[in-house]
Assembly symmetry: C7
Homo-oligomer: 269 residues x 7
């Protein structure tokens, strides 16, 4: 009896310890999270981050508490059986043989859980982020310790085991870059075309619909990116808010086409 | 004798415990299941989901009960043999050597079962869903703990081991997206074409045969998706009910072609 | 002596148990087998399925009986040696070192056997089925626990280890689908072509040589499957008996060509 | 001394047992071998098969006898050392550490031997067969338990480890199929071309140089295998003796070209 | 009690030892770091390197201290339990079974940490370097023991597990090379073109905006790099400061085009 | 002391045994080696083979002697320590932990050595042979138990670990085959072209510079190897001495071109 | 105390033994190194090789000394603890569990070190060699036991783990080969072109700037390397000093072009 009482006490103490450690870890990563996102941290984002942090802390705390419970209570039960002079060797043997057989097969499962735990702790991505997980690209719909659920652009829902994700590309952190390549004829007037593209970039930057609400830096025109016997390729590039690059690229294409048409310059293959 | 009686009692208690836990898990995931499917949850779908939930609960309960039976009865038999002073070391040894030899080879089997169990628990897909399992794309015909049976568009039946599925794309959850790319000549009137495509999209949305019964959101016309020296490409996109995207895309192609023919605009390569 | 007598008795009881369990399993899967094949289950097919079931039951029963014999007799021999106070530790050691050395290398073998056993139990394919095993596509000529023997269309015989087959596509279950793509000129009369193709499909369905004896559903004409600046592609699709799709596709090509020639419509690239 | 005498007796008994079992296995697989090759089993082939069977039986018997010798004599030596109260623990330890270190590296070797043994037992291929082993295609020159030696068409000699062969395609069993694709103009007279090709096929079949001595079934003309805007493709197919397909395909090309030239029909791209 | 006191003392001594060793290692690698970067080591860079060195030393010291703490305190606790005659076998058993199950799954984690530790110790890259990690190319934003965080040119943030990086290419160490290929017509005057390109290279080298502040060596013109029936390809190459090669290549293209236009020489495909 | 004396005696006996066995193995494989090379075995080749055989025997004997020495002396040392009542358990433990840690990493090394040993024993290739090892093709410069050193056609020296070579193609055994494909116009006179090529083949065979000193069999002209709408492809094939095929193919091209030019027949694409 | 003294003595003896063995190994491989490099071994090269040999000997000696120290001192400490009747079982247990957990993850590390050690011992490459490591091609800048550091042609620095290098191609040993392919028109005068190319090769060989100081053998003109309907391809090949092949190929292209221009022969596609 006493053994069981002690076990319960130890378990409770361990649980409280885990809760406190996890909470502290949650708080500290939330600071780095705020820094990482850059820009003025409005209250709305702060609250969102707070919630994600709390969820993370809870998920991990719950896992650790379960593991601790299993270890402590298992030890207690074995000790009690031992004291009652019930032979536990056969039990251990039969569990052991099964355990090894299953252990090999379960390593992928453990791998998934460990990957999921670290991924959460490092806050690599959260619900709503657009990520490239290798197997599929899409918006995160749910994150659990074992799998990540995405929805791609076609509406397909992807379940991806966390352990199979060796690298993740997150398109929703900080900024994205939109760029378009503009090939003009080899004998085009290079400085004139460059100036024309520069004016398009400046106009976009001065457009109140885009400035800072979508584009975060004045667009730039790079020089001759490539050259062939028939064409000279310029590149126009714009830094945008995360995941807005497709929209900005479409606007840039529209404006560059209009400007080139106005100046009587044709694109070439 | 007493040992065997106790073993049977323990087994029964464990069985009942497993049944209760599994049922509770089934109930809770069913709620998330309803949420995940989105839209008004009619009674028909509720019943379908209920049945899938029950099947899941039964499958997993049965597995866990078998494992528990083997562990408990094996321990009991060994204990009895031990009490009868029959030496069990040789038995354990011969089983052990065979066990290790088989254990290595069986890890793939265990992997399949574990993957299948979690896949069921997370309700990643069910009979009737159209999924992309990597090895094959098709309609799920049967789901067991070890293999998933699909039938692809050619009528071929695929047996895929669950452990080899590292990511699954499910096309039957929530919505799908149909889109078609419309390339017109470089010197076409960009705003006019865009307006024309917008009217096609609006007509489709207003067609009672499609509105909400097939298409769940007003179709949209994106701007210049790509640009080359001979063509400008627009994209028309429509959100549809799951797995209806091919049908909607065909209808869109038909309507866009008619509209372009009416306006005397040709597609270009 | 007594030990050996008991061992033989235990072995016989175990053998009889295995035989009974395997037979029962065989009977139950045969029912699901009948269901899976769909359609009216004539007596001929019933007999065929019965035979496959019996073979399966025998194969697996034989394997399990061998394993049981080895375990029981091995234990008995060790126990006898132990009672005769012959030291068995050296024997176990020398077998153990060799066993571990071989165990690692033999895991592929065990994997093949396990895969073969489940494949048989689940009746994924049998002699005469046309399957796609990944490594080769062909008609199954023999199925053993370790390898599957196929013959492909060129007459090449393939031996494929069961453990290397992670997914199998069986073309001989239920139905197959034949489809042909018909590209016509961009400015062709879309409804007229569709109607023409519809008449071809209807004629094929009404042809007593094909209806139900080969084709199991009225062929369908899908709308515009693809569209380019020069062509519009229609698709004609027909559900056929298993493995008859190539034959039906050839007939469809013949009839569609004749109909298009009659209507003066040309195919385009 | 007595121990060693007993060990030698046990070894001899085991050897004789192995020899008998292996011989019996050899006989039984030879029957299946004869069946598998199909056709009238002439005496010459019977003798050839008998020899291959004997070689197989010898190879495997020798392997098993070696393994049995090592186990039995090793046990005997350890027992003797034990009786002489020489401590064998250090010996076992130093062998054990080395054994584990080597065991991991040797698993590929064991894998090769196991694969070779089963390959021989199942008679997947023998000296003189043309096989596709994945790594190389060629004529088998030698088969050992560890490697298979091929010579490819360029005269290159390939050594392939048996364990790396996951699937083997044997072109020398039963029959092969030769086929050629004949693309004619889209507006060619389909039935006339088909009849012409049919006559070519019939002529080849009636040619005493080919009938049955090379070709084992009347060649067939399949219908429209593919169709495009410029061509209609027919396929002519002939079942030949094993590994004779290249020769028959060349003859078919020669005859089809002559027939088409005679009828004034041109091939198209 | 005494045991715990000794454990704490041992722990503290070990901690101090680790700190000293790590610091010394940090100092020595910093020297090689300075050498590796080449060029005059200004004070600014020295400070930067010093800071990176200190961070590295701290990271590794902290890891080693944690490991030492766990080993020492774990031993102490077990010894205490042992002395109190509390049976620790059950505890070890339950931890052991769990440990093995987790150990297999955790090997990837350990691999990541080991890779990270050595990567830090060898100073392969640091925050701000542009690296090619195989999975993604970008600027390093953060380096931890488990993952490296990059931001690529599109603004996508990549999390890459250190253990999956088998080779790293660092573009920010020492120098980079810019080169452009100049294809001229086959019948062009080879020595004249070479002289012309040589003048372009010399002009760039003499331009105060580039000399030594961007380009670190006089650009060179290689001879005929490739030759075909229509063109002769020359290569112009310039050694630049790290990560400045794109900029220099654009300037070179601009100048080469101007020079060729001036001399009336056209590029060819 | 006595123990050490006995150990040395056992070691010497084992060494002599190994030497004798290895020598015998060397002799027997040399016979098969001679057979394998085919053709009249001149004395020069015999001597070369003898030397390779001796080297092989020495290499392997040396390896086996080292292993035997380590096992025997290690056992002796442990036994002595044991008799001196020095506790060897701690030594074994510390060696064991290190051993397991290293054993996993060393398995690739062991794999290389085992592969090298068998490769030598089977005489798959020797210094001077041209081999295709998968990773590189070239002339063998050195063969050790761990790596094989090749020099490829560009003069690059390749070090390839023996364990990574799963299949080897040896171009220097027996014979090689040179062949060239000759595409002529579709309407060319097929029998005339075939006769012309036959004459070229006969001339080459009758040329004393090539007959038997380079070419080992009369060259053959295969029939129509491929056919298209514009061309008919013939193949001329010649069996040559090992590694002489490139030279013969060049001569064949020269002669075929001259013959076709003489007959006014052009090649076609 | 005595135990520690003995341990220190044993350690020192072992260290001295290792130093001597490693030095001897260094001396012997240096001889083979000199032979391998071919050509007259000038004193400069001898000194360079001597230095590389010494570095190798030191690196390996240091590693072996560390391992020996750890084993010997670890054993001594455990023995002391054992004599002081301090229970070492708990320590071993806690270290053991951690050790196994880490051992799995560390196997890649051990693999890297073993690969590095053998690579050094076999002197596969050294600082300054140009190597193809699979992952990257470049000049070796540093070689450590764990990683090899290269700098490629773009100035990128590559860190490659030694264990991931399964084959290495070293371009700096002995000689390299430069070759260029010269395609001329199908109806060109084959012997004349061959003679012309032969004169170019001879001129290059007689040029004192190249003869023996760069090119080590008279360049050769191979016959018709390839033939098509429009072109005949000749190949000119020259053996050069290591890593000088690009330079020689450029010179050859320059001279061949001049010669062909002089003779009025054009290249063809």
């Amino acid at each position: 009896m006493l053994i069981l009482v002690i076990a319960v006490v130890v378990r409770n103490v361990t649980h409280r310890l885990i809760t406190r450690v996890v909470n502290r870890a949650g708080n500290s990563t939330s600071i780095s999270g705020r820094l990482r996102r850059g820009g003025p941290s409005t209250d709305g984002i702060d609250i969102l981050l707070n919630e994600r942090r709390k969820q993370r802390a809870e998920t991990m705390g719950s896992v650790l508490r379960h593991v601790a419970s299993i270890v402590i209570m298992g030890t207690a039960v074995l000790t009690v059986l031992d004291r009652l002079t019930i032979p536990i060797a056969p039990l251990l043997t039969s569990v052991g043989i099964l355990g090894v057989a299953i252990g090999f097969g379960a390593q992928e499962l453990v791998k998934d859980f460990i990957a999921g735990m670290f991924m959460l702790m490092e806050d690599q991505y959260g619900v709503g982020d657009v990520i490239d997980s290798g197997a599929a690209i899409g918006t995160v719909e749910a994150v659990t310790l074992r799998v990540t659920r995405l929805r791609d652009a076609d509406g397909r829902v992807w379940y991806i085991r966390n352990g199979t994700i060796t690298r993740v590309g997150n398109e929703s952190q900080g900024w994205s870059r939109a760029y378009i390549d503009v090939p003009v004829a080899y004998d085009a007037d290079v400085p004139a075309v460059r100036a024309l593209l520069g004016r398009v970039a400046e106009d976009l930057w001065n457009d109140p619909e885009y400035r800072e609400s979508v584009i975060v830096e004045e667009p730039a025109v790079f020089g001759i990116e490539q050259i062939s016997d028939t064409s000279v390729i310029f590149r126009v590039s714009a830094k945008t808010l995360p995941s807005r690059q497709a929209e900005v690229a479409r606007e840039l294409r529209m404006r560059v086409k209009a400007a080139l048409d106005g100046a009587g310059i044709a694109l070439v293959a």
